[in-house]
């Protein structure tokens, strides 16, 4: 029962983070919000008894994607200064 409650909470927070990611003006917040979305998703996977996927999502989904995003953002912000 507790798991369902936790899952609902996680679900809502992922959706909130997703909305933030789409509608914020600052790009940096958007990227961090995407990282957050994928982090919450990996926790959701844990709840759904899929540890492998959770680890991958955490490592690749939130870790590497956000990293590449930040590098690219840094590169682009660099250009127009």
């Amino acid at each position: 029962m507790i798991f369902n409650l936790l899952a609902i909470l996680l679900g809502i927070s992922t959706i909130v983070f997703a909305l933030v990611a789409i509608y914020t003006k600052k790009l940096i917040f958007a990227i961090l919000a995407t990282g957050g979305v994928s982090l919450f998703a990996s926790i959701l996977y844990l709840l759904m008894a899929a540890p492998d996927v959770a680890l991958t999502e955490a490592a690749i989904g939130s870790g590497l994607t956000t990293l590449i995003f930040l590098f690219i953002l840094n590169k682009i912000k660099e250009e127009d200064v």
């Binding site: 997703a18 990611a21 789409i22 790009l27 958007a30 995407t34 998703a41 492998d52 991958t56 127009d80």
Partner: protein, 118 residues
């Protein structure tokens, strides 16, 4: 539990595609794409979930006997693994495209790249 996952997954996909189609900035589009990708992964995993069953890793001896009705469906989880990595590969490629586009015209607005039309 899986219903919750399914709903979140579908909503994430819808939001991702909405962001993808309405945002002018290319990076925002790619973010939209990543979100819908994560959404798809959530859907796939929530399909594999069976009520009060453990992960498909048989580390405890009691799981070895009659594992059929003890573990969740391992196949979608294997598929998701590949899907995530594909997502990363495609996103990395899209980002480098975005970078090159930025270097060409110093702007990230999709409407400026209309040289090829009709």
């Amino acid at each position: 539990m899986e219903y919750i996952g399914l709903i979140t997954g579908f909503i994430l996909v819808i939001l991702g595609i909405w962001g993808f189609l309405t945002q002018k900035n290319i990076l925002k589009m790619i973010i939209g794409f990543t979100i819908s990708d994560t959404g798809i992964n959530v859907i796939i995993v929530s399909i594999s979930y069976l009520k009060n069953r453990t992960a498909p890793i048989l580390n405890r001896p009691d799981l070895l006997t009659d594992t059929v009705n003890k573990i969740t469906d391992p196949v979608p989880q294997a598929l998701v693994l590949t899907a995530i990595v594909i997502g990363v590969g495609v996103t990395a490629l899209m980002l480098s495209y975005a970078l090159r586009l930025y270097q060409e015209k110093n702007t990230l607005d999709i409407n400026n790249f209309k040289d090829l039309k009709w």
